[in-house]
Amino acid sequence: MLCDVCKAQTASVFLTQIVDGKIQKVNLCDPCSKEKGVTDPTGFALADMLFGMGAAQQIGANIGSEGVRCPQCGFTQAEFKKTGRLGCSVCYVTFAEPLKELLKGMHKGLRHIGKCPERLRLTQERDSALRQFHDDLRAAVVEEKYEEAAALRDKIRALELSGGVKGD
């Protein structure tokens, strides 16, 4: 098994830590474990290190030393690192890139495939249908298929009139 930090030498130090109820494991080679100061496992924050290896570096690179603030709630990356919690739903957009790395290590996938609120499910389906009709309409106009275009225009109108649609 290779060291998670240098990815060159064979790991000889295996760390397991529970952070926010989640078990995290890191394998280190001897030199890297010394360099990271893994002498006292109790005082050693694995989460910080994991952050250092992945998400935090990216966040740092993307946002510079000032740090991005969430436009909705004013949350910063430093606060996230400290609390392990996000400030609001917009934070998921604000910190989307670094979160991606974090979520990759945490979950089975990066896309939700479970339950969806009924209202949103309908809206989502309508939105994607609408997008498709608009694309088809543009193509039909370019190709001068006016009958087809008129039919598509009617479909779009009908969908938009069915309510709750984010028209574009």
């Binding site: 078990i23 909705q72 739903s89 089975k108 939700h112």
Partner: protein, 389 residues
């Protein structure tokens, strides 16, 4: 309905009538939900949290499931009442510490509780006796579907339900089962099991959730991941793992009885002696001895009535339940005395378990060829029809 009313009744799941309830104490499903466009409770200002509460609370209270419910603001509750709710798994320890805007709504049977402004705006929980993860999910999923028609949830088409902690994002669901596994602990297999369970994305925790000690041979097994899998898939996986754990536990008990009967019987006998005759007992000691009294029930020494009494003692001897029962503030040593007293009186009618009979049976089984597996001695009322053997 007042808190006094609700708390004077014991929780529904304590009746212990669910499938596999000898080993699986409870099954719980929790869903985390947030409102769109409002900061999560940890970030929101007190006034914002109060706004959220005012928005959510009436909707929750008017759910058909919440007819006859009790709705409580955390800041109106005394510290003892809050701890009592924690001991019944109706609110989290974190929620008990919350102030402005934090509330809980729970039904009379106490198998449904909805925390408002915990770590997320909504934390909805359904709890069942025994291994009933699917039934628990069905119940809470219905509540969620009713609430989503009235509340605008923070939902992202890619990430699903958005939660304060990224570990909950996606389904926002935590499914967990509490298992009583003295056999695995005594035979020192529990660490192996914990490791194996961890490998497949499930977590094992102590009695009261994250970061708590495993007391009374009780462990909670739950899913760690919430994104990239359907709710039903997560629940099925957990269900299968719990069935495996049940098998391992039953196996471990049988092997112990066969190979080290004295070790097992020593624990059961000593716990019986201590529970019946101690005059001061702290909560940790009580849980550990009660665990072996529960095991004695599984071994067939006692009947259903005694089993129920033991199950109740697990809850009644918790600190807040003791305080509430005595109607006054008690110092730690006073609580220990009271705890021992309650246990002694509740177990006064318990005959000593007929441990010798187990030894005799084991000797016979070893002497002869393959004989019938041993059965409970029936020293209690009626044998509890245990699925142990």
């Amino acid at each position: 309905m007042s808190i006094g009313n609700i708390l004077s009744k014991s929780s529904d799941w304590l009746r212990g009538d669910g499938p596999h309830h000898h080993i699986v104490v409870t099954s719980r499903i929790r869903l985390a939900r947030n409102l769109a466009g409002v900061a999560f409770p940890g970030r929101a200002k007190a006034a914002e949290r109060v706004d959220v509460l005012e928005k959510i609370r009436p909707k929750v209270e008017s759910l058909p499931e919440m007819v006859d419910a009790v709705s409580l603001a955390c800041q109106d509750l005394s510290p003892v009442d809050k701890l009592l709710l924690v001991e019944r798994h109706l609110i989290s320890r974190e929620h008990a510490a919350k102030k402005a805007g934090a509330a809980v709504v729970m039904n009379r049977r106490q198998n449904l509780s909805i925390m408002i402004n915990e770590e997320d705006h909504l934390r909805m929980q359904s709890i069942r006796s025994g291994l009933q993860l699917r039934a628990a999910f069905k119940a809470i999923n219905k509540v969620d579907s009713e609430l989503e028609q009235q509340l605008d949830y923070a939902f992202d088409s890619n990430l699903g339900y958005l939660t304060a902690c990224p570990t909950n994002v996606g389904t926002g669901m935590r499914a967990s089962a509490m298992v009583h596994v003295p056999g695995l602990v005594l035979s020192e297999q529990i660490n192996q099991i914990v490791q194996a369970v961890n490998k497949i994305g499930l977590a094992v925790r102590g009695l009261y959730g994250e970061g708590t000690e495993a007391l009374g041979n009780l462990f909670q097994v739950s899913n760690q991941t919430t994104l990239g899998e359907k709710e039903e898939e997560i629940i099925d996986r957990l269900h299968k793992v719990i069935l495996e754990i049940i098998n391992h536990e039953l196996n471990a008990r049988q092997v112990l009885l066969h190979n080290k009967p004295n070790t097992l019987l020593d624990h059961v006998g000593r716990s019986y002696g201590t529970l019946r005759h101690a005059y001061s007992m702290n909560s940790k000691e009580a849980l550990n001895h009660l665990s072996f009294a529960k095991l004695a029930c599984d071994l067939g020494f006692y009947g259903d009535a005694q089993r129920h009494a033991i199950d109740e003692l697990f809850i009644e001897t918790q600190p807040a339940h003791l305080q509430k029962g005595s109607q006054q503030r008690l110092a730690t040593d006073e609580r220990d005395v009271l705890r021992a007293e309650i246990i002694r009186s509740k177990m006064a009618s318990f005959a000593p378990p007929d441990l010798e009979s187990v030894l005799v049976r084991e000797k016979e089984a070893r002497g002869g060829a393959k004989k019938e597996p041993p059965h409970g001695s029936g020293a209690g009322e009626e044998p509890s029809g245990t699925d142990f053997f």
